[in-house]
Amino acid sequence: MFNAFLILAGCQLIGELVREGLGLSVPGPVIGMFLLALALGLHGPIDAGLQRMADGLIGLMGLFFVPAGVGIIAEADLLRREWLPISVALVASTCLSLWVTGLVMHHTLPPAGRKAAQ
């Protein structure tokens, strides 16, 4: 449990250091994710503790978005002035991107091994 969290937070820290050192615009946690994927890919089977910790954190990921999401109330003035372009663009652009990504996957994936979404 503790080791697993240390690995995750450690990868994040290394990711932050890489970002600072190379002046990248990609955030540290994303660099950390790729570094951990690389390390796990080379290392072989995934440790059971790390698997449990990852399952737990990913299962609660929604919770971790709440504090930043509540930040919307600090932008109330901007929202009141431009609610129409903001809401239409947010919904339309998100659905469009979702649809395009899904359709391109659908038409380029090899049919063998398709798994039905339930």
Binding site: E75, L90, C95, L96
Partner: protein, 238 residues
């Protein structure tokens, strides 16, 4: 009675613990609502929690800064959780390797669609360029979206909210929308959720299918990289 409540509230409201517990309780309520709606994506727990907490802050006149000083401990866990996405990524690397061409094409198409359509729709409806630029990186995971928004001249706080609400939109519409176009494959659902709705939409898919979770993780990671690279270029052109 009200006086007594205020006596209790005033010292509590300035401690981090109160807002930590409020945030978790709100998310717990969100989950309970979703369970009561038989897992319906419309009852998104993140959205329910945000609405509950926002209503409480407005009702009690608590500034967002004071709330965040407590809730930041939850916010902090986004980092390790993002790193943890490496685990489903690695477990399903065989599938990913076999579908590399599809992933590359779909990522490029979906990512560019999101940035370009977001900016153009805001401008077409008379929004300011400040809002248009805040909209550009909204599909990527919140920390990346905020960094990109800052870089291209948007409002990072607005982008953070858009990134999460966009994720809520993708989580709510994703499965229905894609199935209407006969897209049933979890790999397509997962990647689309990751590219168009980052973490929130991925959470919706990940709770249902592990292969979908792996493709969602790839979508989040690669779209974050791609958007960080191309959004500044596109923003200068549009």
């Amino acid at each position: 009675m009200i006086n007594a409540l205020q006596h209790l509230w005033a010292p509590l409201a300035s401690t981090p613990l109160l807002w930590l517990v409020v945030t978790m309780a709100a998310f717990f309520c969100g989950r309970a609502v979703q369970a009561a709606c038989k897992g319906s994506p419309i009852a998104n727990p993140v959205l329910v929690a945000i609405l509950l907490v926002a209503a409480l802050l407005i009702a009690t006149g608590t500034p967002y800064g004071r709330y965040f000083s407590g809730a930041q401990f939850i916010h902090f866990l986004l980092g390790p959780a993002t790193v943890a996405l490496a685990v489903p990524l690695v477990k399903n690397r065989g599938y990913l390797r076999r579908n590399l061409r599809s992933i590359g094409l779909a990522l490029l198409a979906g990512s560019l669609t999101s940035i370009v359509s977001g900016v153009l729709i805001v401008k077409a409806l008379g929004g300011t360029s400040e809002v248009a630029l805040s909209m550009a990186p909204k599909a990527v995971t919140t920390p990346i979206a905020m960094a990109v928004s800052q870089q291209i001249g948007g409002v990072p706080a607005l982008t953070a909210a858009l990134a999460i609400l966009g994720g809520v939109v993708a989580a709510i519409t994703g499965q229905t929308l894609l199935r209407r176009f006969a897209v049933e494959d979890w790999r397509a659902h997962g990647l689309a959720a990751g590219v168009a709705g980052s973490g929130v939409a991925s959470a919706q898919v990940a709770a249902r299918n592990e292969l979908g979770a792996a493709f969602a993780a790839v979508g989040i990671g690669l779209n974050g990289l791609l958007t960080a690279l191309v959004a500044p270029l596109l923003a200068a052109m549009l």
